[in-house]
């Protein structure tokens, strides 16, 4: 056992046992961040903060929510919204945060794509990020089931139906999964078993996985360091040395705490103004009116659509016939995972300085928005055609990416 001297202060006492001074140095005071970055690099922290908001508000909701098909709706809409002090505030925070977190995730993702932060050593940051995206999606979907409104029920029905697999007459039926849908639901239709298991996933299993993945994501940032506005590679030891010698102007880095943090906190402030404006004055986009009608298995709503952040992939499924639609949908789910491997260029630079990739990037953004909007509109007439074209463009974009990026290496 190590030898312990009597400590003369609490800090020293803790330091002897937990090495807090070293931890603080490694994690904050001498965690070097490039200076040449803009506010988009604060989105990661905004995400971490929003996740914290979701967790805290979720804990408050959990104290009154009842995962029972007969009482769930009223426990949320009556008990929490009108009987519990400030229950409405926690619910609005939770609902709005669940929607806004996806806006920030998309901004964060597209930032990574724009600046090429997914390759040349940063693949694990990207892959862990994509895992976060998938698990966040599952978390949002499972949470949407809990109020047991009309959209909970019918979106639950439609999405779990996807697990039926391909038609039985395709390839002798091997891609058809009889009984899988019922196994997932625990019943023939969404019911008590369904609600209970999604409740478990939403409040226990998935949050645990998310916390673990955030840890992995942060760890993956350590060795490659975050990227910067010019994709510049430089010697961190050199830069850190300059900084510690007091040549802060010449150095290319800043310490996480307090310099980088001060900017993060400012960006967070701007975000919070926007966020609380939505919480108090503009929340319908995040809390769909249709879900304020209680679940009714006998009454199909006129329009069934997922929350806005799933619409683009929903629209890659919808305009096709069943089997090709499923393949396209599966492709949409993995496309972004493959990005580091489809991009054949060694250049790490903003998309606007990368030849053809520049066009690729902006077409991709516009296509995602078109898909999202078409995913919400009723699948009729012209909307259906636009949706089909946008879906094909999406697939073509990812299939063509190796050729789009290959020539960059010559320059």
């Amino acid at each position: 056992m190590a030898h312990f001297e009597k400590a003369s202060s609490i800090t020293e006492w803790l330091d002897q046992r937990l090495a807090i001074t070293t931890v603080k140095k490694v994690m904050a005071l001498e965690y070097w961040i490039p200076k040449n970055i803009n506010f988009l690099w604060a989105m990661g922290m905004v995400l971490a903060f929003t996740f914290a908001l979701l967790t805290i508000s979720g804990i408050f909701l959990l104290m009154y929510y009842q995962p029972n098909v007969d009482t769930a709706f009223d426990s949320v809409n009556y008990t929490i919204m009108s009987e519990v002090g400030f229950g409405w505030l926690w619910r609005h925070i939770h609902g709005v945060a669940a929607s806004v977190v996806f806006l920030i995730i998309y901004i964060h993702m597209f930032t990574g794509i724009y600046y090429g932060s997914y390759k040349k050593g940063r693949e694990m940051i990207w892959l862990s990020g994509m895992l976060l995206f998938v698990v966040f999606s599952a978390e949002a979907f499972s949470g949407y089931m809990l109020p047991w409104g009309q959209m909970s029920y019918w979106a639950g029905m439609v999405i779990t139906n996807l697990f039926e697999g391909f038609s039985p007459d395709i390839a002798g039926g091997i891609m058809n999964a009889p009984g899988l849908v019922e196994w997932i639901r625990g019943d023939y239709v969404p019911g008590q078993a369904f609600l209970s298991r999604f409740f478990m996933l939403h409040v226990l299993l998935l949050p645990l996985v998310i916390i673990g993945l955030i840890g992995l994501h942060f760890a993956a940032l350590r060795i490659p360091h975050v990227n910067n506005q010019d994709g510049e590679e430089f010697d961190y030891h050199e830069a850190a040395k300059l900084y510690k010698e007091g040549k802060t102007k010449e150095s290319k880095v800043i310490p996480f705490q307090p310099v980088f943090l001060s900017k993060d906190v400012f960006v967070l402030g701007v975000y919070l103004i926007f966020f609380f404006y939505l919480v108090f004055y503009h929340f319908n986009f995040a809390m769909d009116p249709v879900n304020f009608d209680p679940a009714d298995g006998l009454k199909t709503p006129a329009h069934i659509y997922p929350e806005w952040y799933f619409l683009w992939s929903y629209e890659i499924l919808r305009p096709f016939p069943k089997d090709p639609g499923l393949i396209a949908f599966g492709f949409a789910q993995v496309a972004f995972f493959l990005l580091p491997f489809l991009d054949k260029s060694d250049t790490v630079a903003p998309a606007n300085r990368r030849g053809l990739f520049k066009y690729w990037f902006w077409i991709m953004i516009v296509d995602m928005i078109v898909l999202t909007v078409m995913g919400k509109l009723p699948p009729q007439g012209i909307w259906n055609h636009i949706g089909l074209v946008a879906a094909v463009v999406f697939i073509a974009l990812f299939v063509s990416l190796p050729w789009v990026t290959k020539n960059e290496n010559r320059a």
Partner: protein, 311 residues
């Protein structure tokens, strides 16, 4: 700084287009657009007669036969039947008329008395020519000038309506015979009482269920509980739907209720109370929270500036 604002501009523009597409634009494409007429009921006939309250009273309480079916608490007239008997006789319990003169449009009331199925817009269900009579009979006149007699009755109903009708009473009289509101602790029989014994609780429950069964038979389906309808439908939908249910749900059995604009505001106030009770708190706290975040942001900006000064 300039660079950052430019980037922010790009992010904001794309976000705004996305928002416009999935919210305002998508809603115009998903829902039928119905123009309201602000409770003018322009399809109904306007009467120019000035009513006589005294004569109106005689008619309502006598030859008009209104009190044969309706209670009028305002003049201490009890309903001739209890709700259970009335629902068996008419399919729905005729409402108390004390507030009618205050809640309904004057024009609508006159037309209702003259021809209920027409005013209520349920002629697709009740066609006198085919022998399908509306449970509330049309008024055929008491021997004098029929239009004048109707104007008299309307004048009487207006004279007895209380100056202040509470939102809850407005709801009870205009919608309560068909729609429960469990968050407001109302069922089709009125306020849901709390009993000491479970037997009484269950007895009441059975009475409500029996009422609902008959109502279902009359309406074709059980009218939905309206506890939280204010969040489930847009304000515009509610207004145009109540003004004319057929405009939004063709062929529906819900009658045109005939509220005046003020009457509708009362009903809406009650629906807000039960379905969106945090509205006032939200509006009270919102500015303070936003002020806090604003101050926080300004302080954070000053901190950031001082930190980045030498960098």
């Amino acid at each position: 700084m300039k660079n950052e604002l430019k980037i922010l501009g790009v992010v904001v523009i794309f976000t705004a287009i996305l928002y416009w597409g999935v919210e305002p634009f998508a809603h115009t494409q998903m829902h039928k657009h119905v123009d309201g007429e602000h409770f003018a009921y322009s399809d109904l006939n306007e009467s120019t007669k000035k009513g006589n309250v005294e004569n109106g009273k005689t008619l309502v309480m006598g030859a008009g036969a209104c009190t044969g079916c309706h209670g009028i608490q305002a003049v201490a007239h009890k309903a001739p039947m209890d709700a259970a008997t009335a629902v068996s006789a008419y399919g729905v319990n005729p409402p108390d008329l004390s507030t009618a003169g205050g809640l309904y449009s004057e024009k609508f009331l006159a037309n209702l008395i003259e021809n209920p199925a027409h005013a209520l817009k349920v002629e697709h269900k009740f066609d006198a020519a085919k022998g399908k009579m509306h449970p509330m009979p049309a008024f055929y006149g008491a021997g004098g000038d029929k239009a004048q007699e109707i104007a008299d009755m309307v004048a009487f109903l207006k004279s007895i309506a209380p100056k202040e009708i509470s939102p809850k009473n407005a709801y009870l009289d205009a919608c309560g015979r068909c729609h429960a509101n469990r968050y407001g602790k109302l069922d089709q029989l009125g306020e849901t009482p709390t009993f000491k014994s479970e037997t009484d609780t269950l007895k009441h429950k059975v009475a409500v269920l029996e009422y609902q069964d008959k109502l279902k038979a009359y309406m074709g389906k059980l009218p939905p509980d309206l506890s939280i309808i204010i969040r489930a439908r847009s304000e515009h939908f509610l207004e145009t739907f109540v003004e004319n249910p057929q405009s939004q749900l063709e062929g529906t059995s819900m009658p045109r209720v005939g509220l005046s604009a003020e009457g509708f505001e009362k009903v809406k106030a009650y629906l807000t109370q039960t379905g969106d009770p945090s509205k006032t708190a939200r509006e009270a706290i919102g500015p303070w929270v936003l002020l806090f975040t604003l101050v926080f942001t300004v302080l954070a900006y000053l901190w950031k500036k001082s930190m980045w000064k030498d960098h």
